[in-house]
Symmetry: C2
Subunit: 285 residues, 2 copies
């Protein structure tokens, strides 16, 4: 294309569809966002999904959630019986495995992914499948982790891949990130839990930088205080989630979070304050 | 002052003196930096001290390290027998405790700080002294931690304050931060250790953002792999140190660091790569 399109339709769900929709909205293209899913980002906490849904609405993006559509030629789509014209349609849906033309008879799942066992081995003894081809995760870093896990297994270092402790990053405006269990998962498992929040608005460094939108949310087990999940909304949330990843990986408690001295002035103090909030109450709120 | 000074002398050591010197250099004031200490930042790893010394030289700041000086009137200073004129002298040296006029007979140390015991109690049974008045640390977040520690002690929750696990942040250009033991401390204790480094230059997100200067350095125990200390140089190092703080606080090993899935693309992947480097070798280096 030589020029930016005037009007686009983004079809899909997950981080990439939101990132693309917000980008085109930013460069003043009219954006229609369309998904046949109930959630914008499958696997993300409802808190994040609700937040970004509101945000896209505020951005002026036309949203059709949980909606079926029919294609009608190259530049028209039919949504709820209505014809909608566009200059460009971007399909950001997830897709099945794409295999090169090979003679090896790799077994696929019903959904079109490569079938693997717990060690990520395919039906062919010497072939492993890692990354989005096996349908377990569409995230690059989970693919990398699967690669290391598979190699370890081949070398005899056995173990189980834990699909609960991986970060999910959304490069939206504002950025969003999560790690560990969502509040809905914790609820479904019947765990007695506590949610402690701290807003960026009450953080000195965030005020200095003018990035006051957002918050950190820690979901912790009520009995022992274990940090089960963390969600962050705000500038640099995608990099900040790494501290939460360290705590969750180490099976840290909310008491550990509260004991960890955080430098002042830093944005990272929001973790400390959310920790205080869980143990007793935050100082700066 | 109505105008920026043409020429200043910054006397002192520690983060603030470096931050002020670089600020005035940035706004094109001629800067002379003067300290009678051997190190620019007492307590910082030699690696950081050497790095920032080179940086200040490159910035064009005139440096007098480990140098005595004599004041000679309001706008002149004598260094090594030479008279140097200035418009402004900024004293960023640390100073003793400043007490309000009080009738209570608080005992001071030889260096002019308030004397406290291990619980941070002064010679008066009902008075505790926290923060830089007690001379244990000039850092605001260590002062906060002392406050919480003292209150816990008063409430009967006893424990020892660990002065080894606190972040040291320098808001220089580029930013620098450290946590835990320095390489020199590890050496002095005769611990068998390993240093693993990873440069920002080899990190995808750092390349995208154009912030390729800097690196992360992990100092780990060779026997069990415990992460003993971490140093970071680079954009946002002061906030990034919080992930290292989480690992050090949790007594994590280099294997824990390598196992923690870090989102892609993020700057935080430098921790993962430095972890790989310690265990075997980094992937992206």
């Amino acid at each position: 294309m030589d020029e930016l399109p005037k009007k686009i339709v983004v079809v899909g769900n997950g981080p990439v569809s939101i990132e693309i929709a917000q980008f085109f909205n930013l460069v003043e293209t009219e954006v229609i966002f369309l998904t046949n899913n109930e959630e914008l980002i499958p696997g993300a906490d409802t808190f994040l999904n609700d937040y970004i849904l509101d945000k896209l609405k505020q951005d002026g993006i036309k949203l059709f959630i949980n909606t079926e559509y029919k294609s009608s030629g190259n530049d028209t789509i039919i949504i709820n019986g209505e014809k909608i014209e566009f200059d460009l349609l971007i399909n950001a849906n997830s897709r099945g495995a794409v295999l090169p033309p090979i003679d090896i008879n790799i077994k696929l799942t019903e959904n079109g992914f490569i079938e693997v066992d717990e060690e990520l081995k395919t039906n062919i003894d010497s072939i492993y499948a890692i990354g989005d081809v096996n349908g377990k995760s569409y995230l690059a870093h989970v693919g990398s982790a699967q690669g290391l896990f598979a190699i370890n297994n081949i070398q005899g270092i056995k173990g189980a891949m834990n699909y609960r402790i991986y970060p999910l990053n959304i490069y939206s405006v504002p950025e969003m990130a999560q790690i560990g269990m969502t509040e809905q998962e914790v609820e479904n498992e019947g765990i007695s839990y506590k949610v402690s929040e701290f807003p960026f608005m009450a953080n000195g460094k965030a005020l200095i930088e003018g990035n006051t939108e957002g918050m950190v949310r820690i979901i912790s087990d009520k009995t022992f205080g274990e940090v089960l999940g963390v969600q962050i909304i705000g500038a640099n949330a995608t990099d900040m989630i790494s501290e939460a990843a360290a705590f969750v990986e180490m099976e840290a408690t909310i008491y550990d979070v509260s004991r960890t001295i955080h430098a002042h002035p830093t944005i990272s103090e929001v973790f400390l304050e959310a920790g205080f909030e869980a143990v007793d109450k935050s100082i700066m709120k």
